[in-house]
């Protein structure tokens, strides 16, 4: 049994000597090899990307409040003297919103920011397998995003984030800069994937077999597989696009005998698995949030673990469902539709498993749990609306309409962003040793939830009625939906900003907490908060991460500790605490 001093050192709140203050100065951060600091730098970076892309979204939603293109024509600012081509500006906004969100925010958010902070500690390791490669990944992210910004300033980008040819070959905007940016961001993603895959394979704590891993790690592992296999194909596709644009190699350009639909095949061969890069880590986060905050072992562990890998692999076989109306053959359409349905089942069963986890649990309605419940609601809608799009006949009607826009926002924002925010609220006390204002956190969650629904639910109706996507102006019958959607977008924006503010405030002014305020069983919680530079001052003792009975509440430290470390003078208490 450990003494009180040792317990405090190991599991208490670490005011001195934690990874945040063990070294000072800008260079100690910019040249750090500590995965936790790299994770925080990623966090800052992707948050900036989120706000920038979100700003573009608010601009274009404001423009769409009025169906006549007057907002971005800037007549309200410059009067009749304004002669901006409103459509051109609109096209740039939706393109940059998409490109920055997809490449600079959503893909790196959970794996690179949250994953970097959490993965090594969850494994019981001191760091990832290749810390310098990790830092290189971060700088590649910075350079890639930088190139996207450079594109913004050199003609902008108006091809749509999908860069379809031949338009992307002939438009005079900064396509080459933007594709270079996406190419570099791809390498950031690949190196993160290599790092995580090797780390999980070789650096698990002694005693932690594959089935002893928390589900977040399984999801990051499956994501790493996708990052490794799919992203290089995006890389070569973008290189070929640049070669087509600059040299005229004639692969995608029909003027030189190329095939524009071939570009779509190459592009979606990466971009469909990419959406699983976006959602699998998010689902992993939700598995952790639900089990910890209901203090209940996750239901159907094996299924969830295997389904993550199954989704990762099956996801490579369905890219053609983005191209049902591209002119590809009927046989090909039938095959892709059939396989797409097969990918739907594992995701649905995960939702059932989470619900079964809540059964007979002890559910604390704190901010992380609110985000998790919000995820089930929003991802449920997102996934179910995917069925309409997997079905061939209905997809012909719905493709390239707002129905698709609503579907993917439900899964990406309602799914990934919600899980990302929930994960931040869950792990914040661990990495900063501070607790945030939970009431305001829940308000933020509610605003995100309500604003999001208001923004995107009307878009389903619009899409089924025929409103095409990427339109700067529209027929009057769609106006009421656009207006609701715009109002919702601002509510959503306020919710996100509020959530960020709550978290930031906590870093300096939050109540100090010790190592394991939630009573979670995975290894990262067996350390002080914030953790020390080397993560663990002792070798973490592996036990089942979902065995909540193995934890007891230590009143002195106001934290949970493993039974092996409990204070012998206390009566072991198992009852979950409400924070």
């Amino acid at each position: 049994m450990a003494t009180a001093e040792v317990r405090h050192e190991l599991f208490g709140h670490a005011e001195q000597k934690n990874y945040l203050n063990c070294s000072k100065g800008a260079l100690s951060w910019l040249l750090t090899l500590d995965h936790k600091r790299i994770g925080i730098m990623y966090l800052i970076g992707v948050s900036v990307a989120l706000l920038l892309a979100g700003f573009f979204a608010l601009m274009l939603r404001t423009h769409l409040y009025y169906g006549d293109s007057s907002f971005l024509a800037l007549k309200w600012l410059f009067g009749e003297a304004a002669n901006y081509n409103a459509n051109k500006v609109y096209n740039q906004m939706f393109t940059l919103h998409g490109a920055i969100m997809v490449f600079s925010f959503i893909i790196p958010s959970v794996p690179a920011a949250l994953g970097n902070m959490v993965l090594p500690m969850m494994l019981g390791a001191k760091d990832v397998a290749f810390p310098r490669l990790n830092l290189a990944s971060f700088y590649l992210w910075v350079f890639g995003t930088g190139f996207l910004i450079v594109a913004l300033m050199n003609g902008g980008l108006d091809t749509g984030w999908t860069f379809y040819t031949p338009y992307s070959i002939e438009t005079d905007t900064g396509v080459v800069y933007a594709t270079m940016g996406a190419f570099i961001l791809g390498f950031s993603s690949i190196f993160t994937g290599i790092n995580f895959l090797v780390t999980v394979n070789t650096m698990r704590a002694p005693g932690m077999g594959w089935y002893g891993m928390p589900l977040f790690l399984w999801s990051l592992y499956a994501t790493a597989i996708i990052q490794i296999l799919a992203t290089p194909v995006l890389g070569i596709t973008l290189l070929m696009l640049i070669a087509e644009r600059m040299l005229g190699i004639g692969i995608f350009n029909p003027k030189f005998g190329g095939d524009p639909v071939l570009f779509q095949h190459f592009f979606w061969f990466y971009s469909h698995p990419a959406v699983y890069i976006m959602i699998l880590p998010a689902m992993g986060v939700i598995s952790e949030l639900i089990s910890v905050h209901a203090q209940k072992r996750i239901f159907g562990y094996s299924f969830i673990a295997f389904s993550s890998v199954a989704i990762a692999l099956l996801g490579f076989l369905v890219w053609g469902h983005h191209m049902f109306t591209s002119g590809q053959s009927i046989v090909v359409n039938l095959i892709f539709s059939a396989i797409t349905f097969s990918v739907a089942i594992p995701s649905a069963v995960k939702v059932f498993n989470w619900l079964a986890t809540l059964y007979k649990g002890s559910i604390a309605l704190n901010t992380p749990m609110c985000y998790a419940l919000s995820f089930i609601f929003l991802f449920g809608i997102g996934g179910l609306t995917g069925l309409f799009l997997a079905t061939l006949s209905t997809d012909i009607h719905l493709h390239d309409t707002y129905f698709v826009v609503a579907h993917f926002h439900f899964v990406m924002v309602g799914g990934t962003l919600t899980a990302f925010l929930g994960g931040m609220f869950h792990w914040w006390p661990k990495f900063f040793g501070r607790m945030y204002n939970d009431f305001l956190g829940r308000i933020g969650c509610f605003l995100v939830f309500a604003g999001f629904n208001l923004t995107f639910f009307p878009q389903f109706v619009m899409g089924a009625r025929g409103m095409p996507r990427r339109y700067a102006s529209y027929d009057p019958e769609f106006q009421i939906f656009h207006q609701w959607s715009t109002i919702g977008a601002f509510v959503l924006g306020i919710g996100i900003v509020l959530s960020f503010a709550v978290l930031l405030h906590a870093v300096w002014f939050g109540r100090k907490v010790a190592g394991n305020p939630w009573g979670a069983g995975s290894l990262e919680w067996q350390s002080s908060s914030p953790p020390s530079f080397h993560n663990f001052d002792h070798k973490p003792i592996f036990h089942d991460p979902y065995d909540f009975d193995a934890l007891v509440y230590d009143k002195g430290l106001d934290t949970y500790v493993a039974r092996e470390f409990m204070d012998p003078n206390q009566v072991p208490e198992r009852v979950p605490v409400t924070h």
């Binding site: 290749f130 490669l133 190196f191 290089p232 194909v233 290189l239 040299l247 005229g248 190699i249 190459f266």
Partner: protein, 352 residues
């Protein structure tokens, strides 16, 4: 591109080579090994896009792909293949030396590998410049001319080579000068390791010039055979000939070419296509040719950079029988680059 690798040892720590976050050397080695293999998988997928493009184009334009390879020289391609295979052998020997703590051997064989890589690039420079002279470019820029461009640069004329070769060789020439100077300087400053390192790099760049020289000698011989009419010709060329026979335009060219000396030798016009009537679609083949060989050459360059890092560390005596991981990882990368060429050579040069 960044390096997929493990970590070299901390200098302050009695030569301890295990990085801090690993528990033991075995974990470090296993991690590095898995890491490099996974990285190689990403490289294969990276090239796979171009392989798929090749397959599709070949399927849709068999009449071009079956004939266009004759524009490529099998002998030069074959030389490159042999050179790369040999470099894989020397790389394997380098790995073996490092496993036996033989740092001198590792340095020696690594240097040979780098020289072979540079020879490859030199031969490639000859191939590329020769083609660019004839306007053999990608699809949109296809401008095949009956004759080679005349050299305009003074140096090119003196050496009897193409302008393009001079342009390609500027950077190697500068690097050669820099490395020689650096090596001499390091010797004078009594830094033997740096001196040997720069000397090695200079020798590597010398390999490029060696390859270019060899290629140039071969090309002279080839052009002589072309003039004598004994060189192999593409049926696409003959096809254009039929059309040429029907129109009188061709005969004007004969007179013009009789006195030209773009490169050594004259051109027998019955074996050359009328550039106006040759389908520009042959440029389709060359689009894919330049993309694939260009990307491959870029990887060779990267490989030389990694090899020079290994070379430096060999000179510093880092390798021991219980620590040689990085040599093995770079070796694996090098073998993959070689393997990709083993695919490219038959696909582009040989099959018809």
């Amino acid at each position: 591109m960044a390096v997929a690798d493990t970590h070299h040892h901390d200098h302050h720590d009695h030569g301890e080579f295990i990085a801090h976050h690993f528990d033991n050397a075995e974990q470090q080695f296993d991690s590095g090994k898995l890491g490099i293999w996974v990285f190689l998988v990403t490289e294969v997928l990276f090239f796979s896009g171009l392989f798929v493009a090749y397959i599709l184009w070949r399927y849709h334009h068999p009449e071009i792909f079956q004939q266009a390879h004759v524009f490529l020289d099998k002998v030069l391609g074959g030389i490159n293949t042999v050179v790369l295979l040999f470099s894989s052998l020397t790389m394997a020997l380098a790995v073996r030396c490092s496993q036996m703590s033989n740092n001198r051997g590792t340095a020696f064989y690594t240097l040979i590998t780098m020289v072979c890589a540079a020879i490859f690039l030199g031969v490639k420079a000859i191939e590329y410049s020769h083609k660019w002279d004839q306007g053999i470019l990608v699809r949109s820029m296809w401008a095949y001319t009956l004759d080679h461009q005349e050299a305009k640069l003074g140096i090119a004329q003196q050496l009897g080579v193409s302008d393009w070769l001079i342009w390609l060789s500027i950077v190697p020439a500068i690097l050669l000068g820099v490395f020689i100077v650096a090596s001499v300087t390091a010797t004078l400053m009594a830094k033997p390791i740096w001196s040997k390192f720069y000397a090695g790099l200079a020798i590597t760049v010398g390999g490029y010039f060696l390859g270019a020289l060899g290629g140039q000698i071969y090309m002279k011989n080839y052009e002589a055979r072309e003039a004598a009419g004994t060189a192999q010709v593409s049926p696409l060329v003959l096809h254009a000939d039929d059309k040429a026979a029907a129109s009188a335009q061709q005969h004007d060219h004969t007179g013009e070419h009789a006195g030209e000396h773009g490169h050594a030798g004259e051109h027998h016009d019955s074996h050359h296509p009328d550039p106006k009537s040759l389908d520009r679609d042959v440029g389709v083949f060359f689009s894919i040719y330049y993309c694939m060989t260009g990307l491959h050459a870029f990887h060779i360059l990267g490989g030389i950079a990694f090899l020079s890092w290994i070379y430096f560390r060999s000179l510093k005596g880092h390798w021991r029988s219980d620590y040689f991981g990085p040599v093995e990882y770079v070796g694996l990368y090098w073998h993959l680059v070689d393997l990709i060429w083993i695919y490219l050579f038959p696909m582009l040069y040989l099959i018809d």
